[in-house]
C-alpha cells in the first residue's frame, strides 16, 4: 500500500519557545509528576524510619526513589526539558499533596533533575538504553549532592562516613534509573502511551 507519511502537523506554539510541546506530552509529564508526587509523600514515612535507625548512609540509599519521576518523564516523552519539568512538577505536586517540607522541595526538584537533563542532552535525546538511564540517575544524584549535604549539615561528618554515603547514594540513584526504565517499558506494553514518543517508537501494527 502506497501510503504517505504521517502528517506532522505544526505544533502549537507557546510564547518564548521554538518547539513547544503538544498538550498530550504535557499531560503525560504532569500525570507522572502527580502520581510520583503522591508516592513521594507516601515514601517519606518509611524513608524517615529507615533513616532514623539506619542513619545517613541508608538514608542516602533510600533517597534514590525521589529521582524516579525526573527519569521516567523524559524516558516516555523524549523531549528536551522533560527531566526538569517532571521532577520539578513532582516536587510541586508533593507540596500540593501536603508534604511538610513545603516550597523547599521545589528547589530539590530543580536540582535533582539538572544532572539527568544534561546526560539526556549529551546523548541528543536519542539514546534511551539502560546504561543511559543509570548514568542519568547517577548524574542527577551527584549534581544535587552539594546542596542537600549542605542543607542537612552532612559536611561535618567523618570522612569515612561521607564516603559510605557517597557510595550508597550512587547505588540508590542508579537503581532509580533502573526503576524508571523498567516502569517505562512496562507502561509501553500496556499500550496507554500510544500517543507519545516512546509508544510511537515501539508500536506494532495489528
Amino acid at each position: 500500500m502506497n501510503e504517505p507519511q504521517a502528517v506532522r502537523p505544526s505544533r502549537p506554539k507557546g510564547p518564548g519557545t521554538s518547539q513547544a510541546w503538544r498538550t498530550t506530552d504535557l499531560m503525560v509529564v504532569v500525570v507522572v509528576a502527580l502520581v510520583f508526587g503522591a508516592i513521594y509523600v507516601a515514601w517519606a514515612g518509611p524513608y524517615e524510619w529507615v533513616a532514623a535507625f539506619g542513619g545517613t548512609p541508608t538514608q542516602e540509599a533510600a533517597n534514590g526513589l525521589w529521582f524516579v519521576a525526573g527519569l521516567l518523564g523524559p524516558y516516555l516523552i523524549r523531549r528536551p526539558g522533560a527531566a526538569l519539568a517532571s521532577e520539578t512538577l513532582a516536587a510541586l505536586a508533593e507540596m500540593l499533596v501536603g508534604a511538610p517540607w513545603g516550597p523547599s522541595l521545589v528547589i530539590y526538584g530543580v536540582l535533582q533533575s539538572i544532572g539527568a537533563e544534561a546526560v539526556f542532552a549529551i546523548f541528543g535525546y536519542r539514546r534511551w538504553t539502560l546504561v543511559t538511564m543509570v548514568i542519568a540517575g547517577i548524574a542527577a544524584g551527584l549534581v544535587s549532592l552539594p546542596y542537600s549535604w549542605w542543607e542537612y549539615g552532612y559536611f561535618e561528618l567523618d570522612v569515612p562516613v561521607l564516603a559510605t554515603m557517597l557510595v550508597t547514594r550512587t547505588v540508590g540513584v542508579a537503581v532509580a534509573g533502573i526503576i524508571a526504565k523498567y516502569l517505562g517499558d512496562a507502561l509501553v506494553l500496556t499500550g496507554a502511551l500510544k500517543d507519545t514518543a516512546i509508544g510511537r517508537a515501539r508500536i506494532e501494527e495489528v
Partner: protein
C-alpha cells in the same frame, strides 16, 4: 460579543481516508460529505465505524492535536483546509463535547472551568462574568445565591461534587460561552444514567429551541419526568435568541431516539468507515429500515411506528407517535373485555424453572465504605435461583454495583451473611469461589491482565487448568463471538471503548461460572453487539447459570430480564417483573429511572385512552405484525415533574481532594476571604518560605531554630492552627530529625581537642556532635513547620495561578498541572477498584514474566509480593495516562493549543501588604538569629 450572530461555516469533507497508528485497517474510507450552514446532522454507525475520528477531523483536532496516518482527502471549513488553519481559530468556531465526563472538565470550580476556554481565546476578563452567567443559565446551572438556596436545589461550585450529567452540561456551558458556530456532540450521554442523559438532551434541545417547529423534544423530556429545569431555560438564556437558528449541530450516536426531532439529516457509516446512507431521518430510518438494521444500528421507536402504519415519514412528536400507534392498535385489534388481567410477559419467564433451593442467599447484608458515614447497601435480604436473569437498576450511587460485588463474593459485607448453596461464602474454598463466581467490572481497563487481547482471554481460562489446545480453541471461539478476531494481537488498552467492554465480558463468558455478575455490559455497544451478547447470556441462563446484570438500560431489562431489582439509597425498593416496574411511575421517579422509548410510547398511548398490545421493549414493538390480539389495560398514573439530582449522591464515593481548601471564585481573587496569612499572595509567600529555609541553613546552633519554631507556632496559632495540630503533622519530620540528631552525635568529625565521651567501632559520642545534631534536627523541624504553615494556608489552585502570573511558571505547565490535579483524587478510588478487579482475575494468573514461573513456588510467591506494588503502580499510571491524554484532547478542543494571547479569569494580585509581609518575615528571622546567637555567645 454575545449579541453577534453566528454564521456557521460550510464544512466540506472530501474523500477522507484515515488510518490510526498501530492499526493496519483503515478507520475512515473515502468519506465525502458536506455540512451546510445551520444544518443539524446525526452521524450514526456501528461501533468502530470511525464516527469519533470523523468528529475530530471536523474541527481540526485531527491532525492538529492527534497524529494519524492521513492517507488521503481533505476537510475544509468555508473553503480552507483544517490542516492550514490556526488551531485556536478552529476550536473557537467548532466546539465539541466528548463522552467521558471525567476527561473533559479542566478546572475544579464551575466558573473557572467555563472561563478556561474564554481565557484561551484572550477574551477580556471584564467580559467573562456575564458570558459565564449566560452559559450557566443556558445549561440550567445558574449560580444559586444564598437567598434562593432555600427553595432550590443548590448548585455546588465544586466540580468534583457534580453528577456525570451535570458535568456534561458544565462542559457544554464552557463551549457555549465561547459561542461556537458548530456544535459537535460525540456520544455525550454514553456514560450517564437515564436521567442524566435526559437532562443533557433537553438542554441541547432548549439551545436549539428558537425554531418554533421543534419544541416537541422538550415536551418529550418533560413528559418523562426530567425536564423541570429545562422548561425554565426555555424561557430564558439562549432559547429565544434567533442566532441559534443558524448554528450547525453534529450529533454522533448509536441510538437516535432522543435526538430525532432535532435532526435535518442522518449520515450512516458502515463497519469499514464508509458512508453507507445519507438522507432525512425518514429516508434513512423508515425508507432504509433493513439496511440500517443490518448495520447493527438501533432503529428509533418512532421509525418502527411509521413502519407499522406504512407511513414513509416519521412522527414529529411523542404525542403524534403515541396517537399513530394507538390508532394502529385500534384498527388491528379486537379489544378484550376490560376486566381481564394483563398478560404476563411470556419471553421473560425463567427458561429453567427456578429450583426451590436458592443458589445464592443474602441475609441482612450491609456494606459501608471506609470513611463513609452511611451504608452503600443496607440490610438487604434476597435470594437468587439458578436460571434467573436478574437486572439491578437505580440511580448512580444507589448501591447497585456494591450489591453486585457482594453477590459475586468480591467484597464481603460489613454486616450480614452471603451463602452459596447454603454454605457461608467464607467457608467455600477460594478456588471454588473463583471457578463458580464471576464478576465483570464496569471499567474494563481495570481488569486487563494480558498484554494482548488473546493473552487476556487465556488468563481467564487459567483458573480451569485446561490443556493448551482446548484453551486455544475456546479462545478463538470467544474472539469470534466478541467480534475481536482481527484484533487478537492488539493491546487491550488500544481498543475502542466498545471493544474494551466486549473483551472484558468475553473473558467472563469463556468459563462456566454458576453465578455471573456483569456491571454495565452493554454501555456504548451498538445494537448488533448488544443482541449478540444477550444471546450468549440467555444461553447460559438456559443452562442454569444465574446472571445478574447491573445496568441503566431499561430497554435491555424489559427485553431480557426475568426479574428486576430497583435500588435506592442502599435499599431494595422493588423486586419483581420488569413490566410492573415500568408501569410504576412514582417508583421510576424515585429511582431516577426513565421509561425506555418503546415502553414510553405504549404507556403514552394508553394514557390517551388507547388499548395497545403489551409493549415493554423495543423488541416487542419490532415483533408486532398488523394482526395483534392481546391487550392489557391501560393504567393511569398522574404525571409530575422531577428534577435531576445535580449533586453526586452522598456517600457514593469517598470524599475527593487530599486537603480541602476554602477558595474564592468570584473573580475577586484573594484578599477578601480567609485569615491574614491566607490572604497573602501565594507567590510572595512561596518566595518567603524558600528564602527563610535557605537563611536557616547558615545556622549551626540549636537555640536559633528552637526560637524560630516557637515564633512559627505563634504565627500558626494566629491563623487558627493550634500547636497540637502542627506538631501532629510534623510527626514524620521529627522521625527524620531524630536520624540527623544521632548520626551527628555519634558520627560527626571530632574537632581538635574535643574530648570523646564514648567510643565503639566507628561511633564516637562528643558534645560538639550532640550540639551539632540538635541544631540540624531543630533546623529541619522548623523549616518543615514553615513549609507546613504555607501548605495549610494556601489554596493550590490559586498558588499555581499566582505562580503563572508572577512566578514565571509557563501557563501551559501551570494549567496542565491544575487539570491533572483536579482528577488525581479520583485515582485513589480507582486504585481500590483496580485492586478488586485484579483479585477477581486472580493475581497469580497475570502477565508475570516467565522468569517468575521458573522459580520455586515459595520464592515465586515472594517475588510476586514484592512486584505487586510495581504492578499496581503500572496500572494506576496506565489509567492516569489514558485519562490525561483524553483530557489533553479536550483541552485543545477548548483552545489550549495555539494560544496567541491568554487572559485570566482568576487573578492573584500583588498588594503592598504582601511586600510588608515579606520584609517583616525576614526581619523577624534576623531578629531571632541576632538575639539567640547573642545568648549562645554570652551566656
Amino acid at each position: 460579543m454575545t449579541g453577534d450572530r453566528v454564521n456557521a461555516p460550510r464544512i466540506d469533507v472530501r474523500d477522507l481516508t484515515i488510518r490510526h497508528f498501530g492499526r493496519k485497517r483503515r478507520c475512515l474510507e473515502h468519506v465525502s460529505l458536506i455540512i451546510a450552514p445551520g444544518e443539524r446532522i446525526l452521524i450514526s454507525g456501528p461501533s468502530g465505524a470511525g464516527k469519533s475520528t470523523l468528529a475530530l477531523c471536523l474541527n481540526g483536532l485531527v491532525p492538529q492535536s492527534v497524529d494519524v496516518h492521513w492517507v488521503s482527502g481533505s476537510v475544509e471549513i468555508s473553503g480552507e483546509a483544517t490542516s492550514a488553519l490556526p488551531p485556536g481559530d478552529l476550536t473557537r468556531r467548532i466546539g465539541i463535547l466528548f463522552q467521558d465526563p471525567d476527561a473533559q472538565v479542566v478546572l475544579s470550580k464551575i466558573d473557572e472551568d467555563i472561563a478556561f476556554g474564554l481565557e484561551n481565546r484572550g477574551i477580556p476578563r471584564s467580559d467573562m462574568p456575564e458570558l459565564i452567567a449566560r452559559a450557566r443559565l443556558a445549561v440550567g446551572m445558574a449560580r444559586t445565591t444564598d437567598r434562593q438556596a432555600d427553595d432550590q436545589v443548590r448548585v455546588p461550585e465544586e466540580v468534583n461534587r457534580l453528577s456525570g450529567g451535570a458535568r456534561q452540561r458544565l462542559t457544554l456551558a464552557g463551549l457555549l460561552a465561547g459561542n461556537p458556530e458548530v456544535l459537535i456532540l460525540d456520544e455525550p450521554v454514553a456514560n450517564l444514567d437515564p436521567v442524566g442523559a435526559a437532562t443533557v438532551w433537553s438542554t441541547v434541545a432548549s439551545l436549539l429551541g428558537g425554531d418554533s417547529a421543534r419544541p416537541q423534544i422538550i415536551e418529550n423530556h418533560i413528559s418523562q419526568g426530567t425536564g423541570a429545569r429545562s422548561s425554565n431555560q426555555y424561557e430564558t438564556g439562549y432559547a429565544h435568541d434567533t442566532r441559534h437558528g443558524s448554528r450547525s449541530l453534529v450529533v454522533i450516536e448509536h441510538t437516535a431516539d432522543d435526538v430525532l426531532p432535532l435532526l435535518d439529516r442522518v449520515i450512516v457509516l458502515d463497519q469499514d468507515g464508509r458512508v453507507a446512507l445519507t438522507g432525512t431521518p425518514g429516508d434513512v430510518f423508515v425508507g432504509n429500515r433493513e439496511t440500517v438494521r443490518s448495520l447493527g444500528i438501533r432503529l428509533p421507536v418512532w421509525a418502527t411506528v411509521a413502519h407499522l402504519t406504512g407511513s414513509s415519514s416519521l412522527p414529529k412528536s411523542l404525542h403524534e407517535a403515541a396517537v399513530t400507534f394507538g390508532e394502529w392498535a385500534r384498527r388491528t385489534n379486537s379489544p378484550l373485555p376490560p376486566d381481564i388481567d394483563p398478560e404476563p410477559h411470556v419471553h421473560n419467564t425463567p427458561m429453567v424453572p427456578p429450583s426451590m433451593r436458592p443458589r445464592i442467599a443474602l441475609n441482612g447484608v450491609s456494606f459501608r465504605h471506609r470513611e463513609s458515614d452511611r451504608d452503600a447497601v443496607s440490610g438487604v435480604t434476597m435470594t437468587c435461583a439458578p436460571g434467573e436473569l436478574i437486572a439491578i437498576v437505580g440511580a448512580n450511587g444507589a448501591g447497585k454495583s456494591t450489591l453486585g460485588l457482594m453477590l459475586a463474593g468480591v467484597v464481603h459485607p460489613t454486616a450480614g451473611t452471603v451463602a452459596l448453596d447454603g454454605t457461608p461464602l467464607g467457608e467455600v474454598p477460594r478456588g471454588d469461589q473463583r471457578r463458580r463466581l464471576r464478576y465483570v467490572f464496569q471499567y474494563p481497563e481495570h481488569q486487563f491482565v494480558g498484554q494482548t487481547v488473546r493473552a487476556d482471554l487465556e488468563a481467564a481460562l487459567r483458573v480451569e487448568q485446561l490443556v493448551a489446545s482446548a484453551v486455544s480453541e475456546r479462545v478463538d471461539d470467544a474472539l469470534r463471538r466478541a467480534d475481536l478476531d482481527g484484533l487478537a494481537r492488539a493491546n487491550p488498552f488500544t481498543l475502542s471503548h466498545g471493544q474494551k467492554r466486549r473483551l472484558s465480558v468475553a473473558g467472563a463468558l469463556l468459563t462456566n461460572p454458576d453465578i455471573l455478575v456483569l456491571d454495565e455490559p452493554t454501555f456504548g455497544q451498538d445494537d448488533h453487539h448488544t443482541e449478540q451478547l444477550m444471546a450468549t447470556v440467555t444461553g447460559r441462563v438456559a443452562q442454569g447459570c444465574t446472571v445478574i446484570i447491573v445496568t441503566h438500560d431499561l430497554d435491555l431489562v424489559a427485553c431480557h430480564a426475568t426479574r428486576v431489582i430497583a435500588m435506592r439509597e442502599g435499599l431494595i425498593v422493588f423486586d419483581g417483573a420488569p413490566a410492573n416496574l415500568l408501569d410504576n411511575d412514582p417508583l421510576l421517579r424515585a429511582c431516577s429511572l426513565r421509561r425506555p422509548p418503546a415502553a414510553e410510547l405504549a404507556w403514552r398511548a394508553r394514557q390517551l385512552g388507547y388499548t395497545t398490545p403489551p409493549v415493554t421493549c423495543r423488541r416487542d414493538l419490532e415483533s408486532l405484525e398488523p394482526a395483534m390480539h392481546t391487550t392489557i389495560n391501560g393504567c393511569f398514573h398522574p404525571v409530575s415533574l422531577n428534577a435531576e439530582p445535580i449533586v453526586e449522591p452522598v456517600g457514593s464515593s469517598t470524599p475527593r481532594g487530599p486537603i480541602s481548601f476554602e477558595t474564592h471564585v468570584d473573580g475577586k481573587g484573594p484578599g477578601s476571604h480567609g485569615t491574614w496569612l491566607e490572604r497573602r499572595n501565594p507567590t510572595v509567600k512561596f518566595g518567603v518560605v524558600v528564602m527563610l529555609g535557605f537563611m536557616l541553613t547558615f545556622v549551626f546552633n540549636p537555640l536559633t531554630p528552637l526560637a524560630w519554631l516557637a515564633v512559627v507556632m505563634v504565627v500558626a496559632w494566629t491563623t487558627g492552627i493550634g500547636p497540637y495540630r502542627l506538631a501532629r503533622l510534623l510527626g514524620p519530620v521529627m522521625v527524620f530529625a531524630f536520624s540527623l540528631l544521632w548520626t551527628n552525635a555519634f558520627l560527626a568529625s571530632v574537632p581538635q581537642g574535643e574530648p570523646v565521651l564514648w567510643r565503639w567501632g566507628p561511633f564516637h559520642l562528643t558534645v560538639h556532635g550532640l550540639v551539632q545534631g540538635l541544631a540540624l534536627a531543630l533546623r529541619g523541624v522548623s523549616t518543615a513547620a514553615v513549609g507546613l504553615l504555607f501548605i495549610l494556608t494556601t489554596d493550590p489552585t490559586l498558588l499555581v495561578v499566582s505562580l503563572v502570573q508572577h512566578g514565571r511558571l509557563p501557563y501551559r505547565w501551570g494549567y496542565a498541572l491544575l487539570a491533572g490535579y483536579r482528577f488525581m483524587p479520583g485515582l485513589a478510588d480507582e486504585l481500590v477498584q483496580i485492586r478488586l478487579a485484579r483479585r477477581v482475575r486472580g493475581e497469580d494468573v497475570t502477565d508475570e514474566r516467565a522468569i517468575y514461573r521458573t522459580w520455586g513456588g515459595g520464592l515465586r510467591r515472594r517475588v510476586n509480593g514484592i512486584s505487586r506494588p510495581f504492578r499496581e503502580l503500572r496500572i494506576l499510571l496506565t489509567v492516569a495516562i489514558l485519562r490525561a491524554t483524553r483530557l489533553a484532547i479536550a483541552m485543545d478542543a477548548r483552545g489550549f493549543a495555539g494560544i496567541s494571547t491568554r487572559t485570566y479569569f482568576r487573578t492573584a494580585p500583588l498588594k503592598a501588604a504582601d511586600i510588608t509581609f515579606a520584609v517583616a518575615s525576614f526581619l523577624t528571622l534576623a531578629l531571632v538569629y541576632i538575639v539567640t546567637t547573642w545568648i549562645v555567645r554570652y551566656p
